[in-house]
């Protein structure tokens, strides 16, 4: 068994092979030099804390104890499907019986920023280190992109007393994934914390200066900054699959068992697009931590012949300042929204399809105030339940009771 990509998903898959009782060789190959680690802290408390903290998924001893051959700082450059071998950057080959591609995603590049020394992206621990080093008190930081990474970094940069502005080309923040009501709460939190937010403006020019960078806007404004951080989305690492003729469609195309268009090859995590049974097989690609874990574990089982379906409810969280947002399901599947207000300004939104089925739930509030209800909503969504809208709206009615119904 060979796994390409030693991130959240690849590491989970490697351990899952052992948990499933597989005793043969397992090789986990990763391009980064670090032990597999968790990415979410990179833009959150990890960034707030500074450069050196890295939260590994398991230490070297655990990989060794599990008999997982870890090849770090090693890139897979080719796949030979006919002879079932992967080729490494150093010219050597590793044979496989089943192959898992867990190659993740990388930041989308802003062509205007090409060649700039003062524009950075965030995906890896090393990226985070480079950014953290430059978030000095008083530093002027321009963030391009009002998505999760940009906004979490904005919060972290404010925590380090930087001057921060966020520039989003679309009319509002988090337009792709987050309902308007919640995006408004997040925008207000940023404003209250002194972040300057501009929506509906695109970037027209980026020029390095002696001490930083000049960011020119389409409306003619120009902002001088010490550092520009670009967070305009991610693209799947699907080139390796594409090169050898595997189907690629917004990522490596897999079926509901996470099998690519070659039955000996699976793909999982941020690099793949897959059909979601929950929404009649709608094809999606998720960039979410729990999805990477779940798919890694499931791919491992299916590499061993389990033929299990990936039938799950997408789930995502983000932390900004004291607020945590959680989303279960895909809100854009909903035709109408029911709101439930909780204590301390926290609230939940239930997204119902036209036929009344609960298809998604989202919530925001201080700390973990929405977590339990989002988890219960997730169970209702998984059951394809159609709870009464009136009951969903009332905080006195426990969601657990709707689950029992």
């Amino acid at each position: 068994m060979v796994i390409v990509g030693a991130g959240e998903c690849g590491a989970r898959a490697a351990f899952a092979l052992r948990e499933q009782g597989y005793a043969g060789p397992v090789t986990l190959i990763g391009a980064e030099r670090h032990l597999p680690y968790e990415r979410p802290p990179l833009s959150k408390d990890g960034m707030a804390a500074g450069t050196d903290s890295i939260r590994t998924i398991a230490d070297a001893a655990r990989f060794e104890a599990a008999g997982i051959a870890l090849r770090l700082a090693t890139e897979v450059v080719s796949i030979d499907r006919a002879t079932r071998k992967v080729g490494l950057g150093d010219g050597t080959e590793v044979p496989y019986e089943k192959l898992l591609l867990a190659t993740g995603a990388r930041p989308r590049i802003l062509p205007l920023a090409e060649g700039s020394r003062n524009c950075l992206y965030l995906r890896t621990h090393d990226d985070a280190g480079a950014i953290a080093q430059r978030l000095r008190p008083g530093a002027r930081i321009v963030i391009v992109g009002g998505g999760f990474i940009g906004l979490e970094l904005a919060a972290a940069a404010r925590g380090r007393d930087c001057t921060v502005s966020v520039h989003e080309a679309l009319p509002r923040l988090l337009a792709r994934a987050v309902p308007q009501d919640i995006a408004v709460v997040i925008a207000n939190a940023h404003r209250a914390n002194g972040v300057d937010i501009h929506c509906g403006v695109s970037i027209a020019a980026i020029t390095d200066t002696d001490h930083g960078v000049l960011v020119g806007m389409a409306d003619g404004a120009a902002i001088a900054a010490d550092l520009c951080i670009i967070g305009i989305g991610a693209v799947p690492n699907a080139e390796l699959a594409d090169q050898v003729g595997l189907a690629v469609e917004n990522g490596i195309r897999v079926d509901e068992q996470l099998r690519a268009s070659d039955p000996a090859i699976f793909a999982a995590g941020d690099c793949c697009s897959f059909p979601l049974p929950l929404y009649d097989g709608r094809r999606v690609r998720l960039e979410a931590w729990r999805n990477a874990q779940e798919q890694g574990a499931l791919a491992a089982r299916n590499m061993l012949g389990a033929d299990a379906l990936h039938d799950t409810v997408p789930w995502f969280w983000s932390d900004q300042y004291q607020l945590t947002l959680q989303i279960a399901g895909l809100p854009d599947e909903g035709a109408r929204t029911v709101r439930r207000d909780l204590d301390d300004g926290a609230f939940l939104l239930f997204h119902l399809a036209a036929d009344g089925r609960l298809v998604a739930a989202s919530g925001i509030g201080p700390g973990n105030s929405v977590a339990r209800d989002i988890r219960l909503a997730e169970m209702l969504i998984a059951r394809r339940a159609s709870p009464q809208a009136e009951k969903l709206a009332l905080a006195e009615i426990k969601l657990k009771s709707l689950l029992a119904a």
Partner: protein, 104 residues
């Protein structure tokens, strides 16, 4: 030295639910199982120090509110990624309608 500390009244916790209990600078989670028994563990998740009492109890499991890490609250056993370090558990008894936990 271990001593028994009153955490709450038995009726303060619903069946299949959890409550936070702070004592002497420490924080605990006290559980009532679906079959009406009481248990106690350390209050913070072993992954990122988050209060488990904000999480969801299902049967023998407490699920962390932050990233859905799971523990068996009766034994403290971590039930898989992202949590891999077990939770410490504490003896519990119910006397005269009070839930007491034994803390050293």
């Amino acid at each position: 030295m271990a001593e028994w500390i009153e955490a709450c009244a038995a009726g303060d916790i619903d069946e299949e639910d959890v409550m936070r209990f702070d004592h002497a600078g420490r924080t605990f989670a006290v559980y009532r199982s679906p079959d009406d028994e009481y248990f106690a563990t350390d209050g913070l998740c072993t992954h990122e120090r988050v209060h488990l009492a904000d999480g969801l109890v299902m049967d023998d499991i407490i699920e962390c509110p932050k990233h859905n890490g799971r523990f068996n609250y009766k034994t403290g056993a971590a039930k898989g990624a992202p949590v891999c370090v077990n939770l410490k558990t504490y003896p519990v008894k119910v006397t005269a309608g009070k839930v007491l936990i034994e803390i050293e």
